[in-house]
Assembly symmetry: C2
């Protein structure tokens, strides 16, 4: 479902993560880098061999092939349970086999509601019936496949049939409801209409229900996703008036995957919850609509004019309501079980087959899905074909490579989650790294992932050539970072050896790996230059992608080179290139953020109480309008950060120890890196991410076991780092925050102990 990049403010908030250096590509074409340069984790001899294989590899991915694959896979709608979804899986399976992979399909049976009845109607003061239809666009040949298209809806909305006053709630995030409180407006018993953006969509009905709303409509405002951004389809890439964003509203921050089989694989005979006990369905009915359908509803609202930051780009005055608009919302689904088909393909490792490097991208789409997910799936396929070529030329990866093509991602990461849960034990034993992609376009590499892989990923990025500028992908990202940075950020961008890797939230198939199983993960994709207004609509198709996405697939080739190089390098390395000083440095910044968060909350509460005493909230408002002063609250208490601070000091020390041992091993002509003796340290390194989990998981959501990263309970896709502490603070649970500081300290202490063990093992192995 690929995180949708939302622009709020001055420019497209392209998410790029970078750092410093001056390495331009040594030669144009191929992007192979300096063949004699060292490679982290390789002895000089094996580095030379590796660079040779990587150079051969990067010459292989073919834009022409990608185009052919895309045209075929996106030729018809292929959501879970359709015939074309199955045919795609079977064809991809046959391709992998043809390329020399040991491949099979694994099926899971999952709950997948599809629309039976949908209605959004303005019933008063005037009447208007929303079309809920995306029309055929002339010139776009697949847009007329209406019989096979999944209608626009939000999957896992409960059934409902409600009529109530309408209230506009902006993005429908918690802060918006705080603003409504200040305006004296309640959504109790009302249907809310929220615009897409600023949170994962599933958060909107969840918060609305918590506040007492009885229904939720989500629409795409042209400000974020329409003509405000640029010319609309088919003139340009942006969302047309009738375009609708489908999407899941399953409460995935509780647990993703099949709602009926939390924590276990949804095999045919798995034990299932009754539907009524599934906790991840919404509490109120939800439907998404286009801005064409939203306009009459919003225009029928009165009540206060919405605050300036709430106003979108429709040609109307945004009012909040409630009413006088009365709206009828009806959602009824077929609550069927469907079978999904994951394609799993392997190249067994020649030396350490028990260490797995995993790579995945989903195949299922909401409709035709040329961009999401096929644009990156075809890159993954070209990686697989190219590795097949290398095998024929004699390449033998040290470790086992597992390529996965997931089904059912859009509905709630179904395919990856069920497979991960089903294979949890072996994955916990064997999985070294999981590399995910989900969609691709022109622009800058967006790289997120486990901070222990930061230095490694920076190394890969330095070896990939940007197709447009012929700079290394790393260099272009760094210059972009400098261009958009504050002076302080610029300083870091110019001087820190590695660009920071952003922490992973959720929204794609890495979730089960990193958050549930503790497998170090990466998520990669190019973006920032391709306008996107077809996300989860029928217009996300071959016509759109080949006109507005990456028409010549040059960035498709670059992504295949990037992800493939990462896989090769991880699969071939003498010593797995985990690194802990960057990791410790970044966790330190999270610690600082938490301290600042507490200080800000204390100052805000103190200031608010002073202003309540002064009468600011009654004097500085228009008495003709309703304004409710905020509640008086005691400032938050001081918290004990010592357990975290001490653990971080220990982490930095152990990371430095390991780094010294590594430098020694590599420094001495790299002779220390004799493969045979590294088996034990590699196995220890694989476990480094596992140490960051707790079997109890996070408070209130045991499925999420990782203690450094989690999708926010009230943000959805967006990450919360050190989540147990941060979310307790955000939710004003101060005792829980203090307790979580102790627990996170223990987790980091365990990590330090593991790193020291790895240091000892490396010292012993290489001396």
């Amino acid at each position: 479902m690929r995180r949708f990049i939302l622009s709020v403010g001055a420019c497209l908030m392209v998410i790029v993560w970078m750092a410093q250096g001056a390495d331009l590509m040594p030669a144009a074409g191929g992007g192979t880098g300096d063949s004699s340069a060292p490679v982290d984790g390789f002895s000089p001899d094996s580095a030379r061999v590796e660079r040779d294989w990587e150079g051969k590899f990067r010459a292989l991915p073919s834009p022409a092939n990608m185009r052919i694959y895309m045209q075929r896979i996106s030729a018809r709608p292929h959501h879970v349970g359709t015939e074309y979804d199955r045919l795609n899986a079977e064809w991809i399976l046959s391709q992998f086999r043809e390329w020399g992979w040991d491949a099979h399909i694994e099926d899971f049976d999952v709950l997948f509601p599809t629309p039976k009845e949908r209605a959004v109607e303005l019933v008063s003061p005037t009447h208007f019936k929303a079309t809920l239809e995306e029309p055929t666009v002339k010139d776009d040949p697949t847009s007329d496949q209406h019989a096979e298209q999944l209608p626009s809806y939000n999957a896992y909305s409960i059934d409902g049939d409600v009529t109530a006053s309408l209230v506009y709630v902006n993005y429908g995030i918690p802060e918006d409801y705080e603003q409504l409180d200040r305006l004296g407006i309640s959504v109790k018993g009302a249907i809310v209409i929220a615009r897409y953006g600023m949170s994962w969509r599933g958060i909107k009905p969840k918060v609305a229900a918590e506040r007492g709303a009885v229904g939720c409509i989500i629409y795409s405002d042209p400000h974020e996703d329409g003509y405000f951004r640029g010319d609309v389809f088919p003139t340009g890439p942006w969302r047309p008036m009738e375009g609708v964003q489908r999407g899941s509203v399953m409460d995935m921050v509780l647990y993703p995957g099949d709602p009926l089989t939390p924590g276990v694989g949804a095999t045919q005979d798995a034990k299932r919850l009754p539907l009524a006990e599934a906790k991840t369905l919404t509490k109120i009915p939800v439907l998404p609509i286009s801005y064409g359908d939203a306009q009459p509803l919003l225009a029928a609202l009165r009540g206060p004019v919405a605050p300036e930051g709430w106003r979108g780009s429709l040609a109307l005055t945004y009012h909040i309501g409630p009413g006088p608009a009365q709206v009828h919302l009806k959602v009824k689904s077929n609550w069927d079980t469907k079978t999904l088909h994951d394609v799993i393909a392997k190249i067994p490792g020649a030396d350490s087959p028990e260490q797995w490097i995993l790579r995945g991208n989903h195949e299922d789409a909401w409709v035709n899905g040329a961009e999401d997910p096929v644009s990156a799936l075809v890159d993954e396929m070209e990686e697989a074909r190219s590795m097949g070529e290398l095998l024929k030329q004699g390449w033998k990866p040290r470790r086992t490579i597992v390529y996965c093509v997931w089904d059912g991602e859009e509905e709630g990461l179904l395919g990856s989650t069920e497979w991960g849960e089903e294979h949890a034990d072996e994955l916990r034993r064997h999985a070294a790294v999981y590399i995910n992609t989900d969609a691709n376009g022109r622009g800058y590499l967006s790289a997120g992932g486990s901070h222990t892989l930061e230095k490694f990923m920076n190394g890969v990025e330095r070896d990939i050539e940007d197709p447009e500028t012929k700079l290394s992908v790393w260099k272009r990202s760094q210059l972009r970072l400098i261009a958009n940075a504050t002076p302080e950020e610029r300083q870091e961008a110019r001087t820190r050896p590695d660009m920071r890797l952003s922490a992973l939230g959720s929204g794609s198939d890495y979730t089960v790996f990193v958050d549930h199983l503790g497998v170090a993960s990466l998520n990669l994709g190019f973006e920032g230059e391709d306008g996107g207004g077809i996300y989860h609509s029928i217009y996300d198709d071959f016509y759109w992608y080949t006109h507005f996405g990456d028409p010549d697939f040059s960035y498709g080739r670059a992504l295949a080179q990037t992800a493939g190089t990462a896989v090769l390098r991880l699969a071939d390395a003498d010593l797995l290139p985990f690194e802990f000083t960057d990791f410790a440095d970044t966790i330190h910044t999270y610690d600082e953020q938490l301290k600042k968060l507490l200080k800000d909350k204390q100052e805000t509460a103190r200031e608010r109480n002073i202003e309540l005493d002064e009468g600011v909230f009654t004097a500085a408002v228009d008495p003709k309008e309703t304004h409710v002063p905020p509640e008086r609250e005691d400032p938050p208490p001081y918290l004990n950060f010592a357990p975290l601070d001490n653990a971080l000091d220990a982490l930095t020390r152990s990371a430095t120890q390991y780094q010294k041992a590594l430098a020694k091993a590599e420094g001495n002509g790299g002779v220390g890196l004799a493969r045979a003796s590294l088996q034990q340290v590699n196995q220890t390194l694989i476990e480094s991410e596992r140490r960051l989990t707790r079997p109890e998981g996070l408070p209130g959501r045991p499925w999420f076991q990782h203690q450094i990263y989690a999708p926010g309970f009230y943000t959805g896709y967006d990450v919360k780092t050190l989540p147990a502490v941060r979310e307790a603070m955000e939710q004003k649970k101060w005792k829980e925050a203090d307790a979580a500081l102790v627990e996170v300290g223990k987790v980091l202490d365990a990590e330090s102990a593991l790193i020291l063990r790895a240091y000892q093992e490396l010292e012993n192995a290489t001396k």
Copy 2:
């Protein structure tokens, strides 16, 4: 023409100037304050008498009268040269006389172009002819007076008839053209279309012409001035689709007033420039249009999508062009001379008739002008009526009071400027303070003016009751300041005894007084709660104002109380309440701003050059679009701030000396403030503002003689403080900036010398 409050960003940028204290109104109603509290500049005995008169005064202004005056004055269009304009002047004259004032009318003959032919047409790729009409609105009885309404146009546009490619230039300010340079777009030979806002309108054709454009269209975007802000007229107060903002585009920052008689009064026999030599007409033709008329023009543009900050709230994708839209623009005016009628009314001073306190508001309007200017004119009239009542009760102001009702303000401050120029010598001798108003609404007091009057004005504000909250106007403004402040600003708002008085730019009739003659001035008005979308349109009328402005005239009463109290207090004071420590403190902040401006410009230039070396400007852009790197420029040199710093030190010392003498005089039971002996020090104080001028004026614009305040050469209404230095720096004239620092230092040294003289005179008079 009242400065139009433009909202850009999160909220209505209400311009309020405030400070600290805790004085609530001691009693509701009347707003008379504590009758035994001291009053700056008064001995205890005269303070008691003064408080008594002020209390009586503030009970007199009548909302009912204001309503009657407004209905009469705004009943028909009354721009310069109309019969109704003359009738209004004559009726106001008769009223003043009835109230016991010595009143007369002074006429001036001024150049005033009115429309003969107007056309804006899209001629290609499709055809559209702009209506250029504001239709009658049912329910609004004066909106149908089309025969008398001045058509929508920009006065002092030169005649022209051009057809050219259209380019959208955002607000049309210099920064926008720098952005166009970066996008590789020139306006040479093109017609530009700019939206209203971010500068005085006359700046837009001026900068466009400098850049080679051949025509300029200005439109009201609904983002700043239409449905984005709130419901449009007649449902709400905001600008409807067909509403047009008329307005002058005379180059008033060169000199305001009659273009043919710069520097001298436009009397019948004044020497006049030939029209061709008038320097303040535009260089290219200009017309204003509504957003209804702008939509088809903007929709016909292609070329790059406008940067995000350039996009307004029309339901279209904003492109820049140039073209393919070809536009025909035609402007032809009747270049007539019209007679304007200033009403001048006096109450002679009983003791110091040679010291004048002036008060003014204009009467002329673009059309009916209920808000601009009648809403504040009726307050001025009620002040005059009330003072007439006081005279009957035996009040005898110490100083001469001069009430002025200006004509021809809208076209270019004609009435006030010509009168000020004609009477320059006597004004330089006699004028102590000029107090201006221009329009009024509900909300917060906006007070700007000479910093030497800051403490005085704070004192007045503490004695006026806010009609809505019953707090003092001062207190409400302070709480508003706290509500909107940064933490640093909050600290100042809570602890600085006086709220800062904002510096005056231009845009109303105080200009000739403060900027040309060096008369300390104030500009007052309430605003911030009344939405305004009828500025300079036919809908600015009695119907609008009594529905959306200040329907019960309670803020009309408050403004009459505020301005009238200020006049009474200045006219009656034993010692004129000029004060210099606040003044010195504020000039210090300007000095700091200039140093920061230089540092920022140095850092920006250095950083830009580094980024040019790094290749940021070519790497961090989409190569499918045109992006031109900025020019390499040497960083600005360091400047010699010592002359200014030394002068400021001396200023602070002399201000403190004077303050000590004043405290001594007031402290000793105030016995020192014996009126008879203060004649000389009062005369010295009157000259304190004159010392801040130089007869040479500012570089390139000798009419503007004040060295602390001036309207910006490229901003228009917006003030530039220490303008000779600041504008030289902004225009990268570093030598001129260094020279200006010396000159400003000399001006401040002369001011310090005058303050020391006043100190000596006060010491001598009160010991």
